[in-house]
Symmetry: C2
Subunit: 246 residues, 2 copies
Amino acid sequence: MANQLRLSIDRSSPVPLYHQVVQGIEAAIHTGLLEPGSRLENEIDLAAQLNLSRPTMRKAMDELVRSGLLVRKRGVGTQVVSSQVRRPLELSSLYDDLTNNGSKPTTEVLTFAHIEADPATREALHLAAGAKVYHFTRLRKVGGKPLALMENWVRDDITHIDEDLLKTQGLYGILRSGGVNFRLATQRIGAMVANDYQAPLLETEPGSALVTMERTAVDDTGRNVETGHHVYRGDSYSFEMTLVQR
Amino acid sequence: MANQLRLSIDRSSPVPLYHQVVQGIEAAIHTGLLEPGSRLENEIDLAAQLNLSRPTMRKAMDELVRSGLLVRKRGVGTQVVSSQVRRPLELSSLYDDLTNNGSKPTTEVLTFAHIEADPATREALHLAAGAKVYHFTRLRKVGGKPLALMENWVRDDITHIDEDLLKTQGLYGILRSGGVNFRLATQRIGAMVANDYQAPLLETEPGSALVTMERTAVDDTGRNVETGHHVYRGDSYSFEMTLVQR
DNA sequence: CATGTCCGTTTGTTAGGACATACTCCGATT
DNA sequence: AATCGGAGTATGTCCTAACAAACGGACATG
């Protein structure tokens, strides 16, 4: 076929071969070298061309199928779905999203305390009675405009947290520096109208629409590290995501 | 170890072996046989106990790791994360969610038309000028209480759709019957306040909070099949999801 | 002409083996 | 006593090999 996937595989690289293939094909799709709808050569030929075994080639394609870039059909072949697919939903923080996006968010710490966890927090973080947590509320602005009002509860047996740290870094960045490897989070997104406390902080009117998000994050040791309740201005924030059928 | 995963593998079943293992371990976790935080035996021993090869065992565990039920650490072992993890976000429709949940949703069709696509719809569905689409608005109730107001645009070259069909089936069910295999969807979730049109239909007050959802769904041939704009009562609906770090 | 059957192609599943790499722990060395 | 290094263990990566199942088109048959 015309599909000349001129990828180069570097066997001396520490990057696994299958991942080099993933990156190569992703790049080919995003640069338009592989057009949406076009068919790839079959797994065996592709593997042969790159001097890889079929399982390795297949593992690479598995990832691309899972992320929604490719579609396979038995007896037919493998197609490129679309070049405009975003990564499926991953665990990231608002701060990460904004900085990746080129914006420069600023953070005001409204309250900060190191207190005994209330029962609801103990439940969410699986803590024993009497355990202490960091509790703080922050206001995040982008370009001087308030965007989010965030209230969080964090275990205190991970790393030290203080007000100054929160002003300059995102919470997830702090926790990652403290050795936390996030694995998963459950979150719930809904809506509410701004009350008299939220409205002035977000520089909007009471009664305007807010997006709410509650999240609890778990690290790779199974600890529930953090739980939070955030509200975002409905006129300037929404959650965008790609769902993939398994 | 004490971990007696007494799974039984049926080699004559059409269900792939690795998937039988996935189901078995999922069941063991949900029934509490495998407790959160407990360590599994190593891959090789588990494979030997079930008379499977290591790659097969590993493929099963791969899926469980991806779905967030297990955590692996090189040189250490594999642990159960938590029993209360939901499936990561999958492509499903509101109707599916409600019926799976045991509720009995009813649907009122407010408007129904087979019209030429407007430019925004053509853009969303990648249609040529002059192409026609089904356009309809529906009101979904559960237990007599309105929950969602849904407006959709659907390609007309897939399957015939009419008002009666929409009253008795979910849109995704209709499309699946028409041979559509959904692959992915991009969606955006936000918030707004109810206007004078929406409020009476949803039996709420103008100014109350609504969750908004815009979605475009793509099938396995790369066609953008459907796009829609839905609003949900904020006091009775929210999107819950599990994010997995890759 | 319509319909059913066979066959080649391509992905799906499974096996078994080999070596690499990261983590933990314990013993040896400084 | 503290620290460094190596053994043991577990997962991570990669390979060869084989058969199963689904799809689509060509072909044969009624």
